[in-house]
């Protein structure tokens, strides 16, 4: 049993920390969020330079062949610093479809660009009425002589505005919620027929509702087997969920560190408010939530690489997401409360961490959704 990061992982964590201290202070982030693009290309290039973008991909496409556990420290840093660049969307979602189900030719065409910071991605899947149900896909892909034409509407595609390529789920057969009949396609984000209504999200990312109107893609845009895409989608979403859990651990760490610091420095009634036992116990419970979250994130990351049995993977990822969702709510709410009025202010980072934690609790399924899946999977 070894829960510590190995030497390589520690070196990576250290270089990420150096980068954040230098280039991703809260003030720097505020400028990035306020910019017209809402993310920074320069930061993205730095990600490529320090090797973050190639971490999970195989060396023959320019990567480092790391497992999800190797990405944990990066995700934690992303959570702690509230990084808004499309890392999870690209490395944890979009490119995973290619790495896991793309033809050799497509992998060679796409993944080196991803590793080099030249191609960003997003996963266009959620639709109106789907809630968290992955099999709900009404977007259609019709077979043509040259490939497929895709039509439909996707909601809340996080990081779609910055994406060069979208991974799109579409139905080649079956009814709107059938598990069978879903296929996965790689679509050029600038292809004719793709349009986006772009917005900011409450957690300060950029997202879009994406309309696909008779978008033509070649036959080899299909990733994996036609009509059997759901298992692939579940596998990739579970992978991304495990990484998201690690991101949550970082955000929770920030919330706990900041709150503890506040309890020690904020004085009322002539003493530090941390001297009130009522608040000490609250802080202790937050720390316990954080520790439990960290354990479960680690467990989930250890089970989402390709070889894991899907039943075990689903149960563990759902278990992790339940604990993480609860911890996100608990720690976020308490952090604001213990900061008093200051916690409500946009000026302090803690209120931004609150917003991100609130959304992480729901992203890829809230606690209720995962309780249901946990109970049903055996």
């Amino acid at each position: 049993m070894n829960f510590d990061y190995n030497e390589e992982q520690q070196l990576l964590a250290a270089s990420v920390k150096r980068f954040i201290d230098k280039d991703y202070t809260f003030e720097a982030r505020r400028k990035i969020v306020g910019s017209s693009e809402g993310y920074s290309n320069a930061i993205w290039s730095t990600f490529a330079e320090i090797g973050l973008l190639g971490l999970p991909f195989s060396p023959d496409v320019g990567g480092y062949g790391g497992g999800a556990v190797d990405l944990m420290s990066v995700m934690e840093a992303i959570g702690e610093a509230l990084i808004v660049e499309p890392y999870l969307s690209t490395v944890g979602l979009g490119a995973q479809f290619v790495a896991r189900a793309g033809t050799h030719a497509r992998q060679q065409a796409i993944l080196p660009l991803v590793c080099g910071g030249k191609l960003k991605m997003a996963f266009a899947h959620t639709e109106n009425g789907a809630r968290y149900k992955l099999a709900h896909v009404s977007t259609r892909a019709k077979t043509t002589s040259a490939g497929y034409t895709i039509s439909g509407e996707k909601r809340i595609v996080v990081h779609a505005p910055s994406a060069d390529q979208l991974i799109v789920s579409a139905r080649t057969s079956g009814g709107d919620t059938d598990p069978e009949g879903i296929s996965v396609f790689a679509v050029d984000a600038r292809a004719a027929g793709v349009s986006m209504a772009v917005y900011r999200t409450i957690d300060e990312l950029r997202a879009a509702d994406v309309t696909l109107n008779d978008v033509h893609v070649p036959a080899d845009a299909l990733l994996g087997e036609e009509a059997h895409g759901l298992a692939l989608i579940e596998e990739v979403i579970d992978y991304a969920t495990a990484l998201l859990c690690a991101e949550a651990v970082g955000a929770i760490k920030y919330a706990n560190d900041a709150t503890l610091e506040y309890l020690k420095t904020r004085k009322q009634f002539g003493v530090a408010i941390g001297s009130f036992q009522a608040l000490q116990h609250r802080m202790v419970d937050m720390v316990i939530s954080g520790e439990q979250a960290k354990s479960m994130a680690g467990l989930a990351c250890a089970k989402v690489d390709v070889a894991t049995d899907p039943v075990e993977r689903k149960r563990i990822v759902s278990a992790a997401k339940i604990k993480i969702a609860d911890a996100c709510r608990h720690v976020a709410q308490e952090a604001i409360q213990l900061h008093g009025g200051m916690g409500m202010s946009d000026e302090l980072k803690i209120s931004h961490t609150f917003r991100r934690l609130t959304m992480i609790a729901q992203q890829f399924g809230d606690a209720d959704h995962h309780l249901e899946r946990f109970a049903k999977t055996s």
């Binding site: 809402g38 959620t126 009425g129 789907a130 809630r131 968290y132 149900k133 909601r155 809340i156 996080v158 505005p161 919620t177 209504a197 772009v198 917005y199 900011r200 999200t201 409450i202 957690d203 950029r206 997202a207 004085k267 009322q268 009634f269 002539g270 009130f276 009522a278 608040l279 709410q333 604001i336 409360q337 008093g340 009025g341 916690g343 409500m344 202010s345 946009d346 000026e347 209120s351 931004h352 609150f354 917003r355 609130t358 959304m359 729901q362 992203q363 809230d366 209720d368 309780l371 249901e372």
Partner: protein, 401 residues
């Protein structure tokens, strides 16, 4: 259940009280402007004009200040009627009444003000001609209000005020601010040497700076005082007796602090809204996990509303409320927060969008208001005496701990 105990208390309103409730609800149905009701229902921003328009409609009916003495425009209603009225307004979805003039400054003037102060300020508060804000909190003095350090030094016929207030709700709309200031620097007890001053927001030397909250909204401000001159006739009660005034105001707090009516309306809205959201192709209200949460808030609200009535019943004889108000504040805000959270959770992944980048897109403002509203409602357990401070009050006042 102990039948004897319950026999002593009628859990229903009397016939007269029911008739009164119907009268109020009927009037609200006819007189609450549809556009205001709609704004409240959409969780839209209410402007100063919106707030004042509703104020003036109530003032014209004679119902804007029920708790004031009748000679100043009060209605003579008892506590139960006042409660029925407040909750009926909340339930109807009326805009909130800004409390700073009506429910804070006015009761203070009625109790401690000079005749001239009453004549000068009360009619304008009643008619909604002057908008007030509350200058208590300072950067270093929140829960520990008595440690405040904004200074007022008397020079002839006026005070010179220097210092800073913060979190001042609606200061950017206000004509007047009532402040706690320190008129004596070194006193044995920090509660001594504090005075209650009325300050014209147009006075030279006042600067109002917006504080943006995490939902992106501007409702609170920092207010800076730089050699602000305040006539001595704007001192309320004796110099150095401001803490007595502040304590009176806390003890005088109204019994609608639980906001049962508004929460009842929100609960109905949430139930209807959740029924429109799909979960596995069925209404979300059929999902047992979500339904259980809904039922739990409903039961909480039921318990709180009966608790509130029980407390009211005890106050009919005119006793000042004590720890009851703190209990109602804690439970009332927890329910408001739970309702706001469930509204957000009801839309699942659709809660994430916040604001369109290109104003022209077809953007669902209502759904996009749910997560910010959840964020904003975290304030309710912090302001008006944080829920921790309320628990301290109960522990000390009611339990003798």
């Amino acid at each position: 259940m102990n039948r004897l105990l319950w026999c002593t208390m009628d859990l229903n309103y009397s016939k007269e009280e029911l008739a009164f409730r119907d009268e109020v609800s009927g009037w609200l149905a006819d007189n609450l402007p549809a556009d205001l009701r709609d704004k409240v229902a959409r969780y839209a921003h209410l402007s100063r004009d919106d707030l004042l328009r509703w104020h003036q409609i109530l003032a014209a009916r004679g119902w804007i200040a029920p708790s004031w003495p009748q000679e100043w425009g009060g209605t003579g209603w008892n506590v139960v009627q006042r409660y029925i009225f407040d909750e009926a307004c909340g339930y109807a979805g009326a805009p909130p009444l800004v409390p700073f003039g009506l429910l804070m400054c006015a009761p203070v003037l009625l109790k401690f003000g000079t005749e001239a102060q009453k004549q000068r300020f009360l009619p304008r508060i009643y008619r909604g001609e002057e908008f007030w804000c509350q200058g208590y909190s300072e950067p270093g003095s929140g829960s520990d209000l008595a440690s405040l350090s904004t200074r007022a030094v008397q020079q002839g016929d006026h005070y010179v005020v220097n210092g800073q207030k913060t979190w001042t709700t609606l200061a950017h709309m206000a004509d007047w601010i009532f402040c706690l200031v320190r008129t004596e620097a070194r006193t044995e007890r920090k509660q001594d040497g504090i005075s209650f001053l009325l300050v014209d927001m147009k006075s030279p030397g006042i600067t109002v700076r917006p504080l943006i909250l995490m939902d992106g909204g501007h409702e609170v401000n920092e207010v800076f005082f730089d050699d602000v001159s305040v006539p001595v006739e704007n001192l309320v009660h004796d110099e150095g007796k401001g803490w007595t005034v502040a304590k009176y105001l806390l003890g005088h707090e109204r019994m609608n602090t639980a906001r049962i009516g508004a929460s009842q309306r929100e609960l109905e809205k949430l139930t209807a809204f959740a029924a429109q959201q799909l979960h596995d192709g069925k209404p979300l209200t059929e999902d047992t996990r979500f339904r259980d949460k809904l039922s739990r808030v409903e039961v909480e609200l039921m318990a709180l509303s009966i608790t509130n009535l029980r407390f009211l019943d005890q106050l009919r004889e005119g006793r000042a409320p004590g720890a009851e108000v703190s209990m109602l504040k804690i439970k009332g805000t927890e329910i408001q927060q739970a309702l706001a959270e469930l509204m957000m959770q009801a839309v699942g992944p659709l809660a994430q969008p916040f604001s369109p980048v290109d104003g022209s897109v077809d953007f669902d403002d209502f759904t996009a208001s749910l997560a910010p509203r959840y964020c904003n409602f975290r304030k309710t357990s912090i302001y008006a005496g944080s829920n921790e401070i309320q628990r301290n009050i109960i522990a000390k006042m009611a339990l003798g701990l």
